[in-house]
């Protein structure tokens, strides 16, 4: 079930969006819970963080889309915000509320379809991303988002998470294959780093969340930077 909110003061434009969304849900066989609002004020009044995606018109009489988005971000950092506007200039500052793309009116089905595909892809990669490992005979589940990096010392693997360490028997090669496509990169022989925890990059090292500095081997530097670019640039591959 995907919960989508549409905020649009112009009834005609609202109907177009609703129509597109119904078509999208039917084509993708998705269950969609659709709620509509005629102004940003209606949305933020008593807003509860239970939406997955919000389609926000930017120009509305009382509370515009950008203002509403700023309000919402104070309590809801997760909801995906997609602006709808007829002036491209109005959306240029969408990055302030983590809305990195927008739809231009009149909204064509094709562009909405692509935007929704991408948003739903982002929703899906968010949940159920875990790694199950065998720590001293007990199966332990670790959230991928918590892993800063994995380290291999002789035949043991040390999982460095935020604040703790776990260790078990295994090889990085197996883990590397298991975590393929999930935002991890082998920046050096003993390290498999979580790209979302890379804070900065220096000529031969990278600094991770928590301030640990890891060596990046010369032959892997280029590939590491490319993987980082794809990861940060929102690639789902």
């Amino acid at each position: 079930m995907i919960r989508i909110g549409i905020v649009e003061d112009d009834p005609t434009a609202r109907d177009v969006l609703v129509g597109h969304l119904r078509r999208y849900a039917a084509e993708r066989r998705l269950e969609v819970d659709l709620r509509t609002f005629a102004d940003g004020a209606q949305l933020i009044d008593g807003y509860r963080a239970d939406y997955d995606i919000l389609l926000l018109d930017i120009e509305m009489p009382e509370v515009g889309g950008l203002e509403a988005a700023h309000h919402i971000r104070e309590t809801d950092p997760d909801v995906i915000i997609v602006f709808v506007t007829n002036m491209a200039q109005y959306a240029i500052k969408g990055y302030e509320v983590d809305a990195l793309s927008f739809l231009l009116k009149p909204v064509h089905y094709f562009s909405l379809e692509h935007e929704l595909d991408r948003s739903i892809g982002r929703l899906r990669t968010r949940d159920d991303q875990t790694l199950v490992v065998n720590v001293a005979g007990a199966l332990t589940r670790i959230d991928l988002a918590d892993i800063v990096y994995l380290e291999s010392i002789r035949h043991r693997i040390i999982v460095h998470t935020r604040g703790s360490e776990l260790s078990f028997t295994g090889t990085l090669k197996v883990l590397e294959a298991e975590l393929d496509g999930k935002g991890f990169y082998r920046c050096n022989n003993p390290y498999l780093v979580n790209l979302r925890h890379v804070r900065s990059v220096q000529p031969t090292t990278c600094t991770m969340t928590g301030g640990v500095e890891l060596q990046v081997s010369r032959p892997r530097k280029r590939g590491f930077m490319d993987a980082l670019a794809d990861h940060m640039g929102g690639s789902r591959q």
């Binding site: 240029i92 990055y95 793309s101 739809l103 000529p203």
Partner: protein, 436 residues
């Protein structure tokens, strides 16, 4: 043929031809991989050896035919294993052939000198294989630099003819002594014959190497020039549109003053209405100016957006211009200009009007600046070394633009990636923000 020295054993020639082909298989991009590649390589050896043994049974009159057969087999082998066009395969065959002739001759010469007989024996076999193997390892190291993966050096008829000519001449001269001793260029004594052949073959290989090196040099010079021209054009365009924007802003300001003066001077309702209309029109003309937080980015986006709009292409941009504040003007112009020009060029050809879309996102992620340019593309293109393959003239142009972007990214210790994702062409530039 002299009686004193038997000719090189057939299997040595076959082995040399096969290994020479392998050198070029190793340096080139492969057509197939894994098991099919291994199978083709094994089959290639069997075929070459078979042809050599078969040629050995032919009468001397059909000697040329035997050689042509071997060359044909090498061509086939190279064409099946490497990802090249037929002409390039021909060029590679010429190289591989001369290299094979040289190494077979050299190895046999050494063998003759040290073993002193024509009898190969087990030690002889090991020696021959070892010598040929060493030569090919060296040849690989030398040739690898001549065949950079990111450059597809097209072989035209002229280049092919010259390579084939060099190979043929080398082959004929090197074998002259074996056909007749009665020319000014023939050796008359046994070992001397081998030595002449080895030397001539070596010369042939060096000439082919020099020919390739020169063509590569020329290609790079042309490329550099084109990149510089493109860079220059982008900058010129930027200066022109900045001047135009300033001009519009200035006039806008002037007209506003004029409207205000007009209003102040008279109270007549009609005049006021006229002034309102005038102001309204001005507003319509200039629109709401873009404000990303960086004037260079503003100018680039404004000019490219209107350029795209005139071709029915929609650009939607979410841009925090302040994150690229650390970049030099010329680099911002290079990245935005080339990325958007490429996207416009590619999107222009999309038949459905509602799919002519370009999306730009520039934002800060931790201590990095992320610049992303996407355009709907619908098709697929081959990527060579992370860039679209550059063979056609138009694609060439595209290639230089991307190379310029990559240069700019490298300058700031960043990187650039090009991906094709569900019909979208996605260009990402990641730059560490200095001092962040």
């Amino acid at each position: 043929m002299t009686d004193a020295i038997a000719d090189i054993p057939r299997w040595v020639t076959a082995f040399a031809e096969w290994s020479a082909c392998l050198v070029y298989v190793a340096v080139m991009r492969k057509r197939v991989r894994g098991m099919p590649l291994a199978a083709t390589i094994v089959a290639g050896f069997v075929l070459l050896w078979g042809i050599q043994e078969f040629a050995g049974t032919l009468p001397i009159g059909l000697w040329t035919f035997g050689m042509l057969l071997a060359v044909g087999a090498m061509l086939l082998f190279l064409w099946l294993t490497t990802d090249v066009k037929l002409r390039e395969a021909g060029d590679l065959t010429a190289r591989a052939f001369v290299l094979a002739e040289f190494s077979a001759s050299f190895a046999w010469q050494l063998h003759y000198f040290f073993r002193g007989s024509n009898d190969t024996g087990e030690v002889g076999v090991v020696l021959l294989v070892f010598v040929v193997g060493c030569l090919f390892a060296i040849a690989y190291l030398i040739e690898r630099r001549q065949f950079p993966r990111d450059i597809v050096l097209a072989v035209d008829n002229k280049a092919l003819a010259s390579a084939l000519g060099i190979a043929t001449a080398t082959f004929l001269v090197s074998n002259l002594s074996f056909i007749t001793t009665n020319t000014p260029f023939s050796g008359r004594v046994g070992p001397e014959l081998l030595y002449i052949r080895t030397l001539v073959d070596l010369c042939g290989f060096v000439v082919l190497y020099a020919q390739r090196a020169q063509r590569l040099e020329l290609y790079r010079a042309v490329e550099l020039q084109s990149m510089n021209t493109l860079l220059h054009t982008q900058h010129e365009q930027y200066l022109a549109s900045r001047a135009a924007t300033e001009e519009v802003n200035r006039r806008h300001h002037d007209l506003k003053q004029y409207v205000q003066a007009l209003r102040a001077e008279t109270d007549e309702g009609a005049r006021g209405e006229l002034a309102d209309q005038l102001e309204h029109e001005i507003r319509g003309l200039s629109g709401v100016p873009l404000d990303t937080g960086n004037t260079v980015v503003d100018t680039m986006l404004t000019s490219k957006t209107s350029q795209a709009a005139s071709q029915g292409i929609t650009i939607t941009a979410v841009v925090d211009g302040s994150v690229v504040e650390f970049m030099d003007v010329i680099d911002i112009v290079t990245v935005f200009g080339n990325a958007l020009d490429n996207a416009i060029e590619a999107t222009r050809k999309v038949p459905e009007a509602d799919k002519r879309l370009i999306r730009v996102a520039v934002y800060r992620e931790g201590s990095f600046a992320m610049l992303r340019f996407e355009n709907w593309f619908g098709g697929s293109i081959a990527l060579v070394d992370g860039l679209p393959q550059t063979t056609k003239d138009e694609a060439h142009h595209h290639g230089y633009g991307l190379k310029n972007i990559r240069q700019a990214a490298y300058k700031y210790d960043g990187t650039m990636t090009v991906r094709l994702e569900d019909g979208w062409f996605v260009l990402r530039v990641l730059l560490p923000i200095p001092g962040a």
